[in-house]
């Protein structure tokens, strides 16, 4: 549709006449807006709007007309002529809208904004720590109460979660840790061979996987696989008011939803660590065999290289990591607010925080164990 057909202006600034024509509808709204803007109707002291030629009209057209009539607040005479009768109702409807633009939120100037951001960040971190502690406290109390009356444990739920978290992730964890064990062994042979120190590759693989990597890789996998699932489940239950429904039935969502998940995770993670470490040793053994080490020799060498203490160092860490992963996942899950975006954001933040905390925790344990000489 050509520009001339929507609106034509005649007259001068003292007496401007705008004659509308054609279809004042959504499809032409952008064009119409631009045309009318070009006529500078707000400058005119007397404005006449002739709507005779307009043959189609919708809310878009009605609003553009209304805006033309309202102008920018300068006093002036406006006359609306010959608006076709069938468009009156709509024009009237649109006229009733007040359109006071809501004021935008207060903005802080840029140099201060950075400081404000740091402040907000610190506050959020403290609040986060407080929430984790509160969750830990509440869970400890629930656990204590449940230990005294074991019937309060939700066994079905615990077993179901254990199946999902433990049995369900066994294959992928065994596979990944085996590959990691194999890679360590291969890299070890590649470099140690230059010094003729082939024998120590087995020490490297065994110590590294049993003390550090086994539990760390398993924890990271579980944070990504089960922690994210916990957050998403609890978050969407929260969104759909299922959590509120539980609460109004007089049941504590922590007891019903969180406690079984935490127990399952605390039980499953050490078991998965055991499986993961064994798989890593197997992977190392396969590479060793490729490099010409007899399996019996590999096993004998393993016996010399590691003590039970190395195994314990790895295993002790597992339940604590489970607590961190589960705690973060559940806290984040309950923080989900209405939107799908919020669910995504909290699931991401659950995984990122859990992995970060798992690594920090591992570092703290390393310091602790070296100071007590384990």
């Amino acid at each position: 549709m050509s520009a001339e057909r929507l609106a034509i202006a005649t007259g001068d600034i003292d007496r401007l006449t705008i004659s509308g024509s054609g279809a004042w509808i959504a499809d032409n709204a952008a064009q119409l807006d631009a045309i009318l803007d070009g006529m500078q109707p707000d400058e005119a002291r007397n404005l006449e709007i002739d709507m005779t030629g307009v043959d189609a009209f919708d809310t878009f057209g009605a609003w553009i007309l209304e805006r033309l009539i309202r102008g920018d607040g300068r006093p002036r005479q406006v006359a609306l002529l010959r608006l076709p009768a069938q468009f009156h109702d709509l024009a009237e409807d649109v006229r009733r809208s007040h359109l006071e633009p809501p004021n935008p939120g207060r903005r802080i100037a840029s140099p201060l904004a950075l400081i404000a951001k740091i402040g907000v960040g610190v506050e959020a971190a403290c609040a986060e720590a407080a929430r984790l502690l509160a969750m830990a406290g509440a869970l400890a109390m629930l656990f204590g109460a449940a230990v005294r009356r074991p019937r309060r444990f939700r066994w079905t739920s615990i077993v179901y979660q254990l199946d999902r978290v433990g049995v369900g992730s066994t294959p992928i964890i065994a596979l990944i840790t085996m590959v990691v064990g194999a890679i360590i062994a291969q890299q070890g042979y590649f470099y140690f061979r230059k010094f003729g120190a082939d024998d120590y590759v087995i020490d490297l693989v065994a110590l590294l996987t049993l003390r550090e990597l086994g539990v760390l890789i398993v924890a990271i996998m579980v944070a990504g696989r089960s922690g994210s699932a916990y957050t998403a489940e609890l978050g969407s239950m929260k969104m759909r008011e299922e959590v509120d429904a539980l609460r109004t039935m007089g049941r504590d969502p922590l007891e019903i939803l969180v406690l079984p998940r935490m127990i399952a995770l605390v039980v499953a993670l050490p078991l998965l660590t055991l499986i993961g470490s064994a798989a890593a040793l197997l992977g190392g053994g396969i590479v060793a065999a490729i490099y010409g080490v007899e399996p019996s020799l590999y096993v004998a060498r393993l016996k010399d290289a590691v003590s039970i203490a190395d195994f314990e160092v790895g295993m002790i860490k597992a339940p604590f990591m489970a607590l961190v992963i589960g705690g973060v996942a559940c806290v984040e899950g309950f923080r989900v607010r209405g939107s799908a975006q919020s669910l995504g954001a909290h699931t991401t933040s659950s995984v990122v925080k859990a992995i970060f905390l798992v690594i920090v925790l591992d570092g703290l344990f390393a310091m602790f164990f070296s100071s007590i000489g384990m």
Partner: protein
């Protein structure tokens, strides 16, 4: 207007839709004229929403033909489908607002996708729409999770109407609104229908809405349209389900004011 009166807004013929081996809709035929408000009544689980979703192309049909504004949905090219989607608006039962966008952005979304308007004009139009459905501009910055049930419905209507469509599908529009709001809603739909030549296809349980808003009423039972016509014509139907359904609501229907 491009359509002549001879072209029907919706023309459904011999439609069969089913899940598993049991057909939900069994050789159903229905016509909606341009410019009318047709209300579809039916028991819960009778397939009202299935019919609506099939018309919208969200559920695939087994047999039959659906044409909207004379365009057969099976033979439509993708550009025809696009034009069509631009000319219909849908109010979903639960609102189906985009939860990560605020109210203004929800209403502006179809406008933004289909037209090139300045952000200012777009916001103004969104505000007009918001006020048309009885909300205040201050509500525009709320997110869907902060809205009450009735407000959600109104925002969803504003979004369905945001492009001034020719055809509007309303799925249970008055459910969850208080009676006064439901009446206002009916008046609003009437006004828009008069000014824009809007065609409305409405699925509802609300006999009051059927009596006051709709030009024609269709009753769905056993996978077919068992009665169709003005409210009084439908009330005379001999079909047992129609009789019991409207008998329950009859007192209300007779109390209702005459259609404006």
């Amino acid at each position: 207007m491009a359509e002549t009166e001879a072209i029907r807004a919706i023309d459904v013929a011999e439609l069969v839709v089913g899940f598993g081996d049991k057909p939900v809709l069994d050789r159903l035929s229905l016509e909606v004229q341009v410019g009318e408000i047709l209300g579809l009544a039916g028991a819960s689980g009778a397939g009202k929403s299935v019919l609506l979703r099939t018309m919208l192309g969200l559920i695939s049909k087994r047999q039959g033909r659906i044409s909207i504004f004379g365009v057969d949905q099976d033979e439509a090219t993708s550009s025809e489908t696009q034009t069509l989607e631009r000319r219909w608006g849908v109010l979903y039962q639960e609102g189906a607002l985009f939860s990560s966008l605020d109210v203004f952005e929800n209403i502006e979304f179809p406008i933004r996708e289909h037209l090139r308007l300045s952000p200012r004009l777009m916001r103004e139009i969104a505000t007009v729409k918001l006020e048309m459905v009885g909300l205040k501009p201050e509500d525009g910055h709320k997110h869907p999770s902060e809205l009450s049930g009735g407000m959600t419905k109104r925002v969803a209507l504003a979004r369905a109407l945001s492009l001034d469509p020719r055809l509007v599908f309303l799925d249970e529009p008055t459910t969850g609104l208080d009676p006064i709001a439901a009446d206002e809603f009916g008046v609003l739909i009437r006004t828009l229908q008069r000014t824009l030549g809007l065609t409305v296809f409405m699925v509802t349980h609300d006999t009051h809405a059927l009596a006051t808003i709709c030009d024609r009423v269709a009753a769905l039972a056993e996978g077919k349209i068992v009665a169709i016509g003005s409210m009084s014509q439908v009330l005379e139907s001999e079909h047992p389900w129609v009789r019991s359904y409207f008998c329950a609501g009859r007192s209300e229907v007779s109390r209702a004011p005459a259609t404006p």
